[in-house]
Amino acid sequence: AANCIKGDRKAPFTIGWANIYSVPTWMKQTEGTITAEVEELKKAGLVKDLMITDAQGNAQTQIQHIQSMIDANVDAIVVIAGSSTALDRVISDACDKGIAVVNFDSLVNTDKVTAKINTDSNEWGATAAKWMVSQLGGKGKIIVMNGPAGISVSDDRRKGAQPVLDANPGIQVITETNTEYNVAPAQEAMTSLLFANPEIDGVLSLGGALSAGSVLAFERQGRDQVPTTGENARQFLELWKEKGLKGWATMQPNWLGALSVYTAVQALQGKDVPAFVKVPLPVIDDSSIGGYLARADKFPADGYIYSDYDKALFDKLLTK
């Protein structure tokens, strides 16, 4: 049977969703997939209750929430980690208590979980960098835009890009930024960099809405757009189309949340689930962007256009 699960756990189950921060749009959308999935499972008589906590960005509070979930003896805990290390002990405590723990997006270090579900952040960075190299023909000056410093997701993506950059010495990284994954700080930082750097050949932006901020900065300062990488943020995809950008993007699917709940319930029902579910990163390029933009209306303007998902997809991912 699956990791962790012990004791008398019968459907319908109680699930705890230990969110690190409920307000950014990405999180809000992700939570949307979770609650939708829970509704389905409730109808099927598999889930009784969903307990949602919001640690308001504080990993220490998240520990406290998970501890309370252990105390309340929930059947499963679904979690995005506020810190890749801080939750290790409380999560392995939960695992020891026989609770199914499914961790997605921001992962913990410990392996004492039922399943970890994520895309590969290293690959994220590497693929983006490769695209950039090919766009520039192996030669040019680029700016790297990262998420916040000290966070493993942003660090992993950056690390993944490094070997590619090392292999292509013609690509020169002029400078890097670290900001929240938001438009405004990214735009502000990029604007300053535009004044300081008359020559920029590409922007290697590694996630969130950073790319949209960059594109807006170029436009606002009247500079020609340059090849830009990014994520499936609706604003970026729309700007890409509108400005005729040379763009590339991938996706951290919000339905990782739904998949995690689904996985937890599967495991609680005694099914075997893989310890690590690697979700493939799609490539969004000029050929596929149309498909995304066609569905744009269904998503918030500052949200992420994620791909469709269904039970079949989940089952396929879980059997691998």
């Binding site: 919001d54 309370s68 890749s84 290390t85 002990r89 270090n109 000290g150």
Partner: protein, 320 residues
């Protein structure tokens, strides 16, 4: 014929300082009882241990903040100092320094950073709030350089000792409070109050006001860094941004506990109570099954209420 001359002076002074806190004590007691009713497991050793462990870091940083506020200062560098403490612990203990060396290193760093900040504030006569804001960036930077992403390791046995299933954290809190009492019974300790309340008067009375101020900053730094050490042990590793939310929370807890901004007003026990309220509130709201929205609203209401209700009652009583 001093009326109280028969009873002993020290305890009666301490009793007096409790006055005015009764409102807060009541609110906190009510929450604790409610918590115990919702989760009787808190009354077991294990449950008590876990709860107090999660409260302990906030209690400690609140002390670190209150210490400065009583002295008429404030610090915005608490969070980064916690991170720095955690990072130093997680990078040194498994290395050449060992556990005792690591603890010394954390303590020394906290004292040194605190004293340096205090010296800048005192001798250059700059406003503490901005000096510590600048300091927070510098300290965060150092933490990020030492450990660019979450990682490092704290020996397992240390984690088990400090944050296992025994109430060691609570006992440490008692010990630290006892040390604080002891410190307050020294001329330097009382000098913190005197210099915070009326610096000119204290100076004319022979209190070494400047030395007191630097000492307060140094001790505050020590407490914050030790909080980081505990957090590293509790989580088993280091995270360079783990402390960030502590800055505002420490101020909130201290002010909630009746510590004034202008110095000299308030008590440490009040501050600790404030931190306990903030901490137990999180668990109570979880067990009451509040959704995140209600969590935010209730949190705001409790914070306002805990201050307003005793105040209003007091005013109402005075009126009759």
């Amino acid at each position: 014929m001093n009326t109280n001359s028969s009873s002993r002076l020290y305890p009666s002074i301490q009793m007096r300082r409790n006055r005015g806190l009764s409102g807060l004590y009541l609110v906190v007691a009510a929450f604790l009882i409610l918590y115990a009713m919702l989760f009787p497991g808190i009354l077991s050793i294990g449950g008590f241990s876990k709860f107090t462990q999660n409260w302990f870091p906030l209690a400690l940083v609140t002390m670190a903040q209150a210490l400065l506020m009583l002295n008429g200062g404030i610090t915005l560098a608490i969070g980064p100092l916690v991170s720095l403490g955690a990072v130093i612990a997680a990078t040194t203990m498994e290395g050449a320094l060992g556990v005792s060396g690591g603890i010394l290193a954390v303590a020394a760093a906290g004292l040194a950073v605190g004293a340096a900040t205090g010296a800048i504030v005192t001798y250059l006569r700059l406003p503490a709030i901005i000096v510590t804001l600048a300091g927070s960036f510098i300290i965060s930077g150092v933490a990020l350089i030492l450990l660019p992403r979450p990682g490092g390791i704290v020996p397992d046995w240390l984690s088990t000792v400090l944050a296992g299933h025994t109430p060691v954290a609570f006992l440490m809190l008692l010990a630290i409070l006892a040390l604080w009492k002891l410190f307050l019974a020294t001329p330097l300790g009382l000098g913190i109050y005197a210099a915070g309340d009326n610096p000119v008067g204290a100076f004319r009375s022979g209190v070494p006001v400047e030395r007191v101020k630097v000492t307060a900053f140094a001790l505050s730094g020590l407490l914050a860094a030790l909080t980081g050490l505990f957090v590293a042990a509790q989580t088993g590793s280091g995270d360079p941004v783990i402390g960030t939310p502590f800055t505002l929370n420490s101020i909130a807890a201290a002010v909630l506990g009746g510590v004034g901004f202008l110095g000299g007003k308030g008590t440490m026990r009040g501050a600790i109570c404030g931190s306990l309220l903030l901490s137990v509130m999180i668990n109570v709201m979880f067990f009451l099954g509040f959704p995140p929205v209600a969590q935010y609203v209730a949190q705001g209401l409790i914070i306002v209420g805990a201050v307003a209700v005793p105040e209003l009652l007091c005013a109402w009583r005075a009126r009759r």
